[in-house]
């Protein structure tokens, strides 16, 4: 904080501030990096009703419902989440809105935390949904406020597209007061709020007319801005790429900064192109703007020199333009890789340590969550991972196809609690319905751990940490017709019992449902409950065989001067290493409080 209402804020937080200032009353989201903090910050404002949604489609439906009922609403997600949410958003674009409705999608160029790097701007022409693209934290706030005005003025939901560098980038933001936006009175309006073909045939034509109005707005708004400098080089750019080119060329070039990217501003593009000698398009990922400019018949240079994969950087753009870089230092020695790993005390470590012994007999289908790290050494257990909830359907298909192929491996589906609620339930219903002989392994750590411990319908806590009824996943399984003799509970800190459960699963002749339940060790209440417990090494018994270090990969374990050493501040006494040690050199000390 500084004087004059200035705050140093992450783009995600600034966007939430913009929603607050715009009088937003309702927010919904499912966590996903790099979008998570948008909702988390929106939820800090008591004026905004915010609970995590079970998945992005539900979040979108909640937000659409909220504006239908008369209040401004915000719905945020990462790029994968938008695929899930697309189903309700498509008809919403046709129907239009009563109160302002803003969707936010955070892309991940460079794939820091994603398995793909799609370009969400493609949703613009696909859905006919207008798109805004802020280029720093201040714009995240300002554009969000503008988005609510545009949404209500043009009777449309609107999409704000961020990238990880904008979401997680931090800059100075000036605050303003919250607007008082009265709740709009809801009245029954079937043609607007019911998506029935007989009620909606006129809507497509109306939508195309709206796009024309939006195209005119795109030409008029300052969200798309020409900055004249030297006219030898003209650059059309957006988001973080604009900041990069601006830093490289300064006043030595002219810029058309695109902040409203669907529909694109045809007249401004023509005016800009006519005013510069050579036109370049600098954008991350797809040639989205470039294709439009070329379609207008305007010659320009884009993906001929600017990479379409990975994130851009000042250095990448300099190289593309042949701008000489600064002198640099480079040493031949490299820093050792720091591959992601399960934390000390992780409840997944025991499960995958036990699984390693049975790999020849199983095909392990993974899902999205911390446990996806079981793909990597030292575990190397999972063999597949598609998408949220993909583990169970994948296992079903392997069961059927391996039956046909005469292969004996037993399909195991590994899925965490939050992912199960998000989109595992439907797959489980399929498994029961098809009588699939698979093992469903629930890794229930009572939290959406990977994105930073968000609550969900099974965690028993709401956003403000007040209690709510936790839905137990084994109750859902029972409700779906899975019998008691098919359900097995196991302590993920007990290697011997894990081993038994896995063997039972391999031998089972019908669906076997294993629940490994223990709260994530990094949850504050778990830390409190296990404070003072840790494993210790008896140096006289340690033979330096390194089995503990190699098999667990535990970050609390290391070898120093020929002996295993445990960092007691990191260790929570899960005891997996103690169960691995053949020389009884490790024991757990300190009792449960």
């Amino acid at each position: 904080m500084a004087g004059n209402n200035k705050y140093f804020m992450m783009g995600n937080a600034a966007l939430a501030r913009g929603a607050y200032e715009a009088g937003v009353v309702f927010a919904a989201a499912y966590p996903g990096t790099p979008s998570t903090q948008i909702f988390e910050n929106a939820a800090k404002y008591p004026e905004i009703y915010s609970e995590w949604a079970t998945n992005e489609a539900v979040a979108a439906e909640l937000a659409i419902g909220a504006q239908m009922a008369g209040v401004r609403a915000l719905c945020s997600m990462k790029h994968f989440g938008f695929n899930v949410a697309a189903d309700p958003i498509f008809p919403c674009v046709y129907n239009g809105v009563l109160a302002g409705l803003v969707f936010v999608v955070a892309d991940d160029p460079g794939q820091a935390t994603s398995s793909t790097e799609p370009d969400a701007r493609r949703w613009g022409p696909q859905m006919r949904i207008p798109i805004l693209e802020p280029a720093d934290s201040q714009e995240c706030k300002d554009f969000t406020k503008a988005a609510y005005e545009i949404s209500e003025r043009f009777d449309t939901p609107i999409l704000i597209r961020l990238t990880a560098r904008i979401s997680h980038g931090t800059g100075i933001v000036t605050f303003a007061e919250r607007q008082a936006v009265p709740i709009k009175p809801y009245t029954r309006n079937l043609s607007k709020n019911v998506g029935m073909s007989s009620l909606g045939k006129f809507k497509h034509a109306r939508l195309e007319a709206r796009v024309k109005d939006l195209a005119q707005f795109s030409d008029e708004t300052d969200l798309n801005r020409i900055e004249w400098g030297e006219r030898e080089i003209g650059v059309i750019s957006n988001g973080i790429s604009y900041q990069y080119v601006k830093e490289i060329f300064g006043d030595g070039a002219s810029y058309l900064k695109i902040g409203f990217s669907y529909p694109l501003p045809e007249k401004k593009i023509r005016e800009f192109a006519a005013g510069v000698r050579k036109l370049y398009i600098v954008e991350e990922l797809d040639p989205y703007m470039e294709e439009y400019v070329k379609q207008l018949g305007i010659p320009c240079v884009g993906k001929e020199i600017i990479p379409a994969v990975n994130e851009l950087s000042i250095d990448v753009i300099k190289e593309a333009f042949g701008v000489t870089g600064e002198k640099r230092r480079r040493l031949d020695i490299k820093a050792p890789e720091r591959t992601p790993n399960f934390c000390a005390g992780c409840t997944h470590r025991g499960v995958y340590t036990a699984m390693k012994k049975h790999l020849k007999k199983v095909i392990a289908c993974g899902d999205i969550g911390c446990y996806n790290l079981a793909v990597l050494p030292p575990y190397s257990v999972h063999e597949t991972m598609q998408d949220m909830g993909g583990s169970i359907p994948t296992a079903i298909s392997f069961w059927k196809v391996f039956q046909l192929a005469g292969r004996p491996e037993k399909p195991f589906a590994f899925i965490g609690d939050s992912t199960f609620f998000h989109s595992g339930m439907t797959g489980l219903a399929d498994a029961v319905y098809r009588k699939a002989n698979i093992v469903v392994f629930i890794l229930d750590n009572r939290s959406t751990a990977m994105t930073g411990h968000q609550d969900h319908p099974g965690s028993g806590r709401m956003m403000d940490k007040t209690p709510t009824e936790p839905i137990e996943i084994d109750d859902i399984a029972r409700g779906m017709g899975i019998k008691e003799d098919q359900i097995r509970y196991v302590d993920p800190y007990d290697l011997a019992d894990l081993d038994n459960a896995i063997q039972e699963g391999i031998a089972a002749d019908k669906l076997y449902f294993i629940v490994a339940r223990r709260p994530c060790p990094l949850l504050p209440e778990t830390r409190k409950a296990r404070a003072g417990i840790s494993c210790v090494v008896s140096a006289d018994k340690c033979t330096n065989c390194k089995a503990c270090v190699r098999q667990t990969g535990c970050p609390a374990l290391s070898i120093a001067e020929g002996k295993a050493v445990i960092e007691r501040e990191d260790c929570n006494g899960c005891g997996i290493c103690a169960q691995i040690c053949r020389f009884q050199a490790i024991e757990t000390v300190g009792g449960l409080r």
């Binding site: 904080m1 500084a2 200035k6 140093f8 820091a112 720093d136 560098r165 997680h168 980038g169 931090t170 800059g171 100075i172 973080i240 900041q243 990069y244 601006k246 830093e247 490289i248 060329f249 300064g250 030595g252 950087s313 000042i314 250095d315 300099k318 701008v323 870089g325 600064e326 002198k327 640099r328 230092r329 480079r330 040493l331 020695i333 490299k334 820093a335 050792p336 890789e337 720091r338 591959t339 992601p340 790993n341 399960f342 934390c343 000390a344 911390c370 790290l373 050494p377 030292p378 751990a449 990977m450 990094l522 390194k546 270090v549 190699r550 990969g553 970050p555 290391s558 070898i559 990191d570």
Partner: protein
């Protein structure tokens, strides 16, 4: 094409205080009247992964990220982590290294080697290199967690930002029970340059 803004890179391992120091530094810079931007990479794991924060400040900042060969200062909370960022340093830039080696799983498992004689190599490569065991110094002052403040103290001096009331900022941004140790560690850092 010379950038007017100054560039600082802070790198280390999750849990060492990289983010905290970057927050204190950027808040202070903003209050000093600079335009400031920052970009962070946290990696996927909750702990023990490589973490970095890039900061730019000046009259006007466009991109938060530092271009190669243009950084004024690198603060490495872990020795080998400095290697990932060396090429971002100006030829006459300053390198501050915490004399702490944290071996990743790949090294523990014998698949990779931790670079040897790194302090000597870094000193030979970069004239303005400061290597200090901040962890040990912080431990003497009450908590190893204050190691980040030793490094902040050195950095503030190196960046010639000493006129700002940093101790008040630290007080506002660290938990009460660690405040004294952190401020002592910061002042120790200031005294080293």
């Amino acid at each position: 094409m010379k950038q007017s803004a100054k560039g600082v890179i802070i790198c280390g391992i999750g849990g060492q205080g990289v983010v905290l120091v970057s927050n204190i530094l950027t808040e202070g810079l903003m209050e000093m009247g600079f335009d400031v931007k920052k970009t962070e990479e946290h990696g996927m794991s909750q702990r023990n992964g490589a973490v970095n924060a890039q900061i730019k400040f000046g009259a006007k900042v466009f991109a938060p990220a530092v271009a190669k060969g243009s950084g004024d200062l690198i603060i490495a909370f872990e020795k080998a982590e400095s290697l990932r960022w060396l090429e971002y340093l100006r030829p006459d830039g300053c390198l501050i290294v915490n004399d702490v080696e944290i071996e990743p799983v790949s090294v523990q498992a014998g698949k990779e080697k931790y670079p040897e004689n790194l302090s000597e190599i870094l000193r030979a490569e970069i004239a303005d290199t400061i290597i200090i065991n901040a962890a040990e110094a912080a431990f003497r002052m009450g908590t190893i967690r204050a190691q980040s403040m030793v490094l902040l103290g050195i950095s503030v001096k190196k960046l010639e930002l000493g006129s700002f009331a940093w101790t008040a900022k630290i007080r506002a941004m660290v938990p009460e029970k660690y405040q004294e140790a952190n401020i002592n560690a910061f002042q120790y850092g200031l005294s080293l340059v």
